[in-house]
Symmetry: C2
Subunit: 481 residues, 2 copies
């Protein structure tokens, strides 16, 4: 067996621990009886530790070394190159630190939950301080010379820099400023009144719709979850607590993530060529399905009569479209509309950047949040529960994650421009609820590459230019201007 | 850290791979989209291989050695003693053989499925020959001096011997001979006519019943499966394709297995003190709940009016009782009644014993099956599909498994005698559907010990004597005589 073959075999073996963990997590979210919680938390931690140990072992290092000297196909060379990059990065992180981060995150998440319920940032502050401290140590272990926050960003978007992220986000912020014109003259400024549809009827309609837009039920499932998510290689969840329209669009969003997972090449699974770990790219797939496709006039014209027939909704197509495209600035990110969502992310990006540049202390966060929020939105959050305490991410140590939401939106728009160049009549498909050609393009230009390319490399390859704000701002102005 | 502490930590870590595999298997049976099959099969094989490698590593051997010399609590000494026994056994099996067995079993199971459908034993024969050959090599690797079949029996019932198994089984065979008097004078000789109950109504009633008899839904779930099973630490399935009564009693049976799992001590999980791997003991728990408890007059008197109310069954209590206690000799083991079930197992035990003593070649199996079946039941199976091809076990290499069904039944009866000695009025509880005292006895005398004792040791401890046929025959004659 060549060193390369041995390496690939080992990588695929290690990836099984990740596969198992993915299923344990899906079960945790969707199926697990509550009494299994402690055992499951331990199981997931042990599997992560195992995988980290095996991947960062001397054996992997030696095989990478030897494989480099072998005659390889271009794909094999890619596997070695990308694996080497990740090996070098992860190997610098001591196992003891990984473990401490995980234990600290578990405690901090509990503290955050309580603090949010009680609107009590002070009780969460010491935990957050500890999580930040560990994140700094983690980033410094990986690269003592790079800016800490940049290293953190790269956990979710390999190759990201602070500067290009800041540039992209501030361009988008500036570009959408004049879109936020709330007022009685704006369509959708009055929310649709609540309308009850039995959950089982909704579930059936969601399942039908997922199948209609190309979600493959031989590879995945649609379940009800507390949060809409895609897990375990394209199993999706939606929730029905936010009403019939949001659950539908959550399903479309998650189906976009899932199709990406389902189109990865199983022959390369366990190697970078068969994985999808850049979250900005992943998010581009869900956003494209949800927004460019799902909120197009063409698709709404397909969806509306079917909704009307199944749910007997007492609303006109115009009302539904206005609801889907409403701009309603609010305090809570996860409830935000497509346009103002970006401002929520920009706020978090700016604060994270300042935290890791030691320009902002934990105790200053609530005030800094509210001040900047007011500048962006024109009003202040009424309390920390609707402000700095609203998201779980920081308690778990996920710093640098938020920008992938905006990058995903921007990349989706850029892809969609390329799609329309290639197929100017693509919206005719949408008016029949047909995504066949759309999916073929995505499979060809995005999905099949797995993790081969960094975000900008893939953008170049798929759309002819690196990622910029242009396409997205153009799309937003077209739809919302 | 003492060697013992390190050992226990390592065992608990290794057991997480088994936990993960258990959940993967549950998902495979209950939730998995069909397109995940190949990937899942590989994942489960890799996790098993990992666990085997880690458990049979030099490190475990060295820790066992060192721990033996340390000052230990009695429980810790037990952990070391039992682990050492299993380590010695498993370490003798080459990893290459484990892998070959698993790959061969996968192929043989596919061939068996096809052969059964087509009633074509000849196409299955070469696969079965190979599986038997590997089972022989496996047993010889473990102990070159012991009879091969005895070593195989011990995979499911540690400490089992061919002789005591043969004695027990033939005592039971003789003892039940005069119970099999089919004929028009026997209650239940006419099956209850089919009666349709909507599956959702059945599911709700099954769930209610499981909860009523003490199944803990904070630790487990009840799902619909192709086969009734207990998996992943007490998650149970039942099926509704066999009618409303069989699905109910499958649920009770599986709930018995599950309560055992749920009562294991989590502090010892991953060590022999927190596991339940003797399948004869496991089966005693399901049989006791299903039969001694579930088919008692007292419980039927509790169940009947509730069934009547929920399902509006057009049958009398007497008819339901007669159906539950019918003796109807047939060709198919899994459809057999409580009494004739034993004959099915005895047939398989005898054939397996002869196979591994080289007294019976694979090509002779169909005729040998039918001949012995006729001696035991008084008629011949019409074809191999209802004869030698009916069970999946041999194709997967599970030789020595079947006797645990009869041992479980016998041990259940012996436990129930001890329970009635301790609580002569226990049936009064049953007439209220109440298993509180029954479960407390089982927890105290069976569940909490995990894998500490061999079957006969546990029988001695819990009931005052090793396992014999006496209690079971007495019970059968009382209920069926």
């Amino acid at each position: 067996m060549s060193a390369y073959e041995e390496l690939e075999r080992l990588l695929k073996r290690i990836s099984v621990l990740g596969d198992a963990n993915a299923l344990l997590y899906w079960d945790y979210e969707v199926m697990m009886p509550p009494g299994e919680q402690d055992r499951r938390t331990n199981e997931m931690a042990v599997l992560s530790e195992f995988a980290h140990e095996l991947f960062t072992s001397d054996q992997v290092g030696a095989l990478l070394e030897r494989a480099t000297a072998e005659a390889l196909t271009p794909e094999q060379r890619d596997v070695v190159k990308i694996t080497k990059r990740r090996y070098d990065r992860q190997r610098r992180v001591p196992a003891s630190l990984v473990k401490e981060m995980s234990a600290t995150a578990t405690r901090a998440e509990l503290a955050w939950k309580k603090a949010r319920e009680e609107n009590d940032f002070a009780s969460f502050a010491p935990h957050l301080r500890r999580v930040i401290e560990l994140a700094k140590r983690y980033a410094q272990a990986i690269d003592a010379t790079a800016p800490i926050y940049q290293t953190l960003l790269q956990d979710y978007d390999e190759g990201a820099t602070i500067d290009e992220t800041a540039t992209l986000l501030s361009h988008i912020a500036q570009g959408i400023k004049d879109l936020i014109r709330p007022g009685p003259d704006r369509p959708g400024s009055e929310p649709l009144p609540p309308y009850d549809v039995p959950v089982e009827k909704q579930r059936q309609f969601n399942e039908w719709l997922a199948r209609q837009i190309g979600y493959d039920f031989t590879k995945g499932r649609l379940d009800t979850g507390v949060h809409p998510m895609t897990m375990a290689f394209g199993r999706i969840t939606t929730r029905y607590t936010d009403g019939w329209l949001l659950s539908l669009y959550s399903t479309i969003h998650e189906a976009g993530h899932a199709m990406y997972e389902h189109n990865l090449d199983p022959a390369w699974h366990g190697t970078p060529l068969g994985q999808a770990s850049n979250l900005a790219i992943h998010e581009s797939q869900s956003r494209l399905l949800e927004n460019e496709f799902g909120k197009s006039d063409a698709f709404i014209s397909f969806l509306y009569p079917r909704l009307k027939e199944s749910y007997a909704i007492p609303f006109t197509e115009e009302q539904v479209r206005a609801e889907l495209r409403a701009i309603r600035p609010g305090t809570i990110r996860v409830n935000a509309d497509e346009v103002t969502y970006n401002l929520h992310v920009i706020l978090r990006f700016e604060l994270e950047r300042r935290i890791f540049a030691d320009q902002l202390a934990v105790e200053e966060l609530p005030a800094a949040w509210n001040d900047r929020f007011e500048e962006l939105f024109g009003f202040r959050p009424p309390n920390d529960k609707e402000g700095v305490l609203q998201d779980t991410h920081w308690s778990g140590g996920a710093f640098g994650y938020f920008p992938t939401y905006v990058k995903g939106s921007a990349f989706a728009a850029q892809q969609y421009e390329a799609i329309k160049r290639a197929m100017p009549d693509i919206e005719e498909d949408f008016s029949r609820g047909d995504t066949t050609r759309l999916r073929a393009w995505l499979r060809e230009h995005i999905h099949r590459h797995g993790d081969l390319y960094l975000l900008n490399e893939l953008a170049e390859k798929a759309t002819g230019k690196p990622l910029t704000a242009d396409s997205y701002l153009h799309y937003l102005h077209e739809r919302y201007g």
